[in-house]
């Protein structure tokens, strides 16, 4: 007796260690537990609430939310999907970050299985597609936009307004600098921000989506004068960045901005909550950089990209229930929760954020979108385009390389794996 009990205990704890929960059916009988993995431990409580309302309408399904540390998630997920005890449904990276799992055959294609995919724009699904087979592997969760926030109180103190022309933006920046206020709080230490800064200020110079099309088809490459000039746009703004930019991380510059030491900050929609946390009384506005000198488009562009989606483990033992959950994630009910509770930009058509600023960002993006090109298109091979651009831009801002050298390094790195579609 005792040995059997011991064995049972060992077996039970082994199961627990392996993280198996998906197949344990409760004493009730047919109730199924879906294991959902994510890289957002900070959202665990919110997700629990959200899934509770799913469980209410799907009595036979129990959802268990299992978050992991974001930095470890890729490794944990890629191992978890190969063995028993993996997730049924899991949060997925986008674009290039998704491809290794698709190639390894770990994900189930959702075309025809999740009817709710029609609730998304084609561009929203782009982030969850297999590069080679063009199939959709995830239900888009949320997107990020990137724009310039400004502190309304600081602006009104110096009689400024959100700029509508480049010259006005520079004049404003000069005025702020003369008054001892850092015009733009930018970080050079968290280098991943640099390509985003360049898109935020310079996308109008190279032409945004038009240029993207041309570079993907091979009509132009990154040594194109328009692209080099766009890199230089950021270089020209250096006098209006913090003197110690290269020693400042993202949180540092968010603090500079939130405490009023800087008047503007190029940041993502995802930074709204953390900046409000630093200073709840922050009076915020947002704008997109006006067309830069020599711009090839005549209106501001807003940078955006799909951040995450939810997909299904091809080995899941509860595919029917998992698909039910994914279908629910494509509804406006879930989308509204993403907007209101997770405070993210939902991609479900028709969902509006209750936060005015987020709402404005989404509207601006839908009207004049431009992709975060290095993430959206150039992370399908190594070296990643975003890494090359970040390294080069940092060198440029340090004065170690000029824009021309940076663009030729980007081209040299990317051309090792990227083949244009022809034309």
């Amino acid at each position: 007796m005792r040995t059997r009990r011991l064995l049972a205990m060992v077996a039970a704890s082994a199961l627990a260690v392996a993280g198996i929960s998906a197949c344990t059916s409760s004493s009730g009988g047919s109730k199924v537990t879906l294991s959902v993995w994510s890289w957002r431990p900070e959202d665990a409580a919110t997700y629990k609430q959200m899934f509770a309302s799913f469980e209410k309408s799907h009595k036979n399904i129990n959802v268990e939310f299992k978050p992991y540390k974001a930095t470890d998630y890729n490794t944990i997920l890629s191992t978890g999907l190969t063995q028993a005890g993996g997730p049924d449904v899991m949060q997925l990276r986008s674009y290039g970050g998704l491809q290794p799992l698709i190639k390894a055959g770990r994900l189930a294609a959702l075309d025809g299985k999740v009817s709710g995919l029609s609730n998304f724009d084609p561009s929203a699904l782009e982030g969850a597609k297999g590069k080679q087979d063009g199939k959709v592997y995830g239900v888009p969760l949320e997107m990020s936009t990137f724009q310039i926030y400004y502190n309304k109180d600081v602006f009104s103190k110096y009689g400024l307004q959100a700029p509508t022309t480049w010259d006005q933006m520079i004049t404003d920046a000069k005025k702020l600098k003369d008054n001892g206020v850092t015009p733009f709080a930018t970080s050079g230490k968290d280098t991943w921000l640099l390509p985003l800064y360049d898109d935020a200020f310079g996308a109008t110079r190279y032409g945004g989506p038009e240029f993207e099309k041309k570079v993907l088809s091979g009509q132009v490459d990154f040594t194109d004068p328009a692209y080099t000039a766009a890199l230089d746009v950021l270089g020209q703004l250096k006098p209006y960045f913090p003197k110690d930019m290269m020693g400042l991380g993202e949180t540092d510059v968010q603090t500079l901005f939130a405490t009023g030491k800087a008047a503007m900050i190029p940041e993502g929609s995802f930074a709204l909550a953390p900046m409000k946390a630093i200073n709840p009384n922050l009076n915020l506005g947002a704008f997109n950089a006006p067309p830069a000198p020599g711009a090839t488009v005549d209106h501001p562009l807003e940078v955006g990209w799909v951040d995450a989606s939810f997909g299904m483990n091809v080995k899941s033992k509860h595919q029917k229930e998992a698909l039910e959950l994914l279908n629910w994630m494509a509804t406006s009910e879930f989308g509204q929760m993403v907007a209101d509770d997770l405070k993210q930009v939902s991609l479900v058509k028709g969902v509006q954020s209750s936060d005015e600023l987020l709402k404005q960002m989404v509207t601006d993006y839908r009207a004049n979108p431009t992709p975060y090109m290095m993430l959206v298109d150039f992370r399908y091979g190594t070296p990643l385009g975003s890494d090359l651009a970040a390294t080069g831009l940092q060198n440029m801002l340090l004065g170690k390389q000029n824009a021309q050298a940076v663009s030729s390094d980007i081209q040299k790195g990317i051309s090792q794996w990227f083949k244009p579609t022809g034309g």
Binding site: K189, D244, M245, G247, K261, L384, L388, Q394
Partner: protein, 302 residues
């Protein structure tokens, strides 16, 4: 019988050593000869992974720069540790009171993890909010303040100083023990012969300290070439971008980490294993050579 007993004693340690040391080493070596797609092994790659380290742009440039940074990191750390460490150890050796306390005080940072040390110095050196720049401005040195870790010309020297600060307790303890173990008679005899303090140090104490200096140097070499946490905590690591301003503090250990865990390349396992194998060969080879050299010098002394 005696053999059997011996085996029974050796076996547990040997088994643990095999599982936790030998097996990972061998499997990393094996992994480096295969090509990978995520965690799936796709085919025998021969030396392709190794070749890619020297041909794929910008990895090849990064590796070259990181190798020299690591060399500088080691040389700088060793110079500071062997000179200051020895100086402090000698001064402590001469002291009667407070010796124990000071030894413990110097060894204290050594007991803190490198990640914590990096984090603390990061806060101290923060250009906008840190006390270092603030204190400098307060005493009228405001013109010298800078983003210590954000300026390519100061980043690596600052990292070296922090590293030496962190580990200086170890050479102090080691040199202290070696000094305490030196026979009194040599010093007395040379004093009778009329040697002054400097001559006694240079001709008697220093040669007798050679084994300790050799040991400190070899251990510093190994830890510097494996260094990762400190720089990671000080400068971070993103995607596959060289760490530090303009890549100024990029070390070999960081490149390995980035290729293995951060870049997200399909062949990450193959390429990072190749880096690990090369690093192991380099560290192992140099450590063996240096050990042999110091042994020979020791033998000449006796």
């Amino acid at each position: 019988m005696r053999w059997r007993t011996a085996i029974a004693f050796v076996l547990p340690a040997f088994a643990l050593y095999s599982v936790f040391i030998v097996y990972p080493l061998v499997s990393a070596l094996a992994d480096s000869f295969w090509s990978w797609e995520g965690t799936a092994r796709t085919g025998f790659a021969g030396l392709d992974n190794f070749r890619s380290l020297f041909t794929q742009f910008p990895l090849n440039h990064q590796l070259r720069a990181a190798f020299w940074h690591t060399v500088l990191f080691f040389v700088g750390t060793m110079i500071v540790q062997n000179t200051f460490g020895l100086l402090i150890a000698v001064l402590l050796h001469e002291r009667k009171f407070g010796k124990r306390f000071l030894q413990a005080a110097y060894a204290l940072p050594y007991l803190i993890g490198a990640l914590v040390v990096g984090y603390l110095w990061n806060l101290l050196l923060s250009p906008e909010f840190g006390p270092v720049n603030k204190a400098m401005s307060d005493v009228g040195l405001g013109s010298l303040t800078r983003a210590w870790l954000g300026d390519p010309s100061t980043a690596l020297p600052v990292v070296i100083l922090i590293n030496a600060w962190h580990y200086i307790g170890f050479p102090i303890l080691l040199f202290g023990a070696a000094l305490a173990g030196q026979p009194q008679e040599f010093g007395d005899a040379s004093r009778v012969d009329g040697a002054n303090a400097w001559q006694r140090f240079r001709l008697i104490t220093l040669p007798l300290l050679l084994p300790a200096i050799g040991l400190v140097s070899i251990l510093t070499f190994i830890s510097c070439f494996n260094a990762f946490e400190l720089v990671y905590a000080l400068s971070g690591s993103q995607g596959n971008q060289p760490t530090g301003p303009g890549g100024a503090t990029d070390l070999l250990g960081l490149i390995f980490y980035r290729v293995a865990f951060q870049e997200g390349g399909e062949n990450a396992i193959g390429q990072s294993s190749a880096i690990a194998v090369l690093m192991f060969l380099l560290i192992f080879g140099v450590a063996v050579l240096a050990n042999w050299y110091f042994r020979r010098r020791e033998a000449l002394l006796t």
